[in-house]
Amino acid sequence: MTASIGYSDVAVGDEVKPWTYKVERINLVMYAGASGDFNFIHWNEQFAKMVGLPNVIAHGMQTMARVGEYVTAWCGDPGAVLKFKTRFTSPVVVANEAPTEVSVTGKIVEKLDGNAVRVELSAAIGELNVAAAEAVVRLA
């Protein structure tokens, strides 16, 4: 499969259309089961608060997976991701009462050999940055 976006059609500085997603407790329970990460801080509010967190927090890798969806939906081919890196800068706190809304943005920062581009990605809750990521993706 090849990406649906052509290398020659993009330029450094181009932005990926911003996107938002919601996280609820159910998403964390499902992620725990599918990934095998059953750390109590991701589903037990009492425990999370006991270890000094404001509430249950999302798995960093759950956030990374959502950012991964953002970049693969943009380029059109999940198999085109050559490198994917994420730094978890702040926890994604998920209360029981209401979903947490996370916004994702991206920008092409470098054009590389072999039709690849480096995309800088960021996830935030309001003004609070929660993940700083980067993907190298091979375009068509």
Binding site: G33, A34, G79, K83, F84, F88
Partner: protein, 152 residues
Amino acid sequence: MPMNTALIGKEYPASSPYEVSREKIREFAIAIGDQNPVYMDEEAAKAAGYPDIIAPPTFLTVLSFKYSPQVIGDPELGVNYAMVVHGEQEFELLRPVRAGDVLVGKPRIANIAARGRNEYLYVEAAIETVEGEKVAVASATIVSRGTAPQEG
């Protein structure tokens, strides 16, 4: 207590073979909320040129729970599991992971460094098929809060 820096460079044995199944990929895709047809449907994956359904780029996190415990739980390393958080993750994918792959992870301690009050454990794992084909390199930075050696 600080981690044992004498273990920098230590290589651990390969994890036991993990068979990537279509159902596990689908379960993971549903859990992350990304039901791209190439993760879900064999025909869609084949139409896209893949031999079978492929896994999302972060799927190897599943495998990390097979090879990481021997590092984190190494009594010589001295990690206090209650103090650690995931600081950073990187996947270098030589090709997409796909259903039918039988994978092993070979972790090594790439570095241990102290910055301020925290320590940083860098675990780098080579991900290969049991036939020896290199598929990916997964690198994790584990932050150990407040365990850095203090002066005085």
